[in-house]
Symmetry: C2
Subunit: 83 residues, 2 copies
């Protein structure tokens, strides 16, 4: 559960305390290196699911895709609007 | 990108080499402790999105939900069928 520790280890600043954050990480470990990677196509659909539950501003979504060997990692960091 | 290191640090065994794995982590940092947690409802919808791209056996899905203070973490570990 390393991601929980990641959140906990961050020192909150005043802006972070007021806001909510959502982080989605999808990691795909492939058995063969040359398979097609569907993570880039997946990211928009994941956001649409999240939008059913919370309001998400498109410009508050930070997307990173890391492809290293046979492991692809899609990371979405979303700052949710304050209420 | 700690999740990438998590995958890399695991020593592969013969079964792991033949299989593919998909890990989805959704972490929600709430500004207030007593807000409703939508992560449990989210997990089935995330799986339905994943199923559009890959075949997922229901009994190959391991779900963990960790709620600690103002941070909830939903973790889905999926072993994909070998081809």
């Amino acid at each position: 559960m390393s991601i929980l520790n990641f959140f906990k280890s961050k020192k909150p600043d005043s802006a972070a305390i007021a806001k909510e954050r959502l982080q989605i990480i999808v990691a795909h470990e492939r058995s063969q290196r040359n398979e097609p990677d569907y993570l880039p196509r997946l990211q928009q659909e994941l956001l649409e699911v999240i939008r059913k539950y919370v309001e998400v501003d498109q410009d508050q979504v930070d997307v990173a895709l890391d492809d290293s060997g046979n492991c692809s990692v899609l990371e979405l960091n979303i700052t949710l609007p304050g209420r």
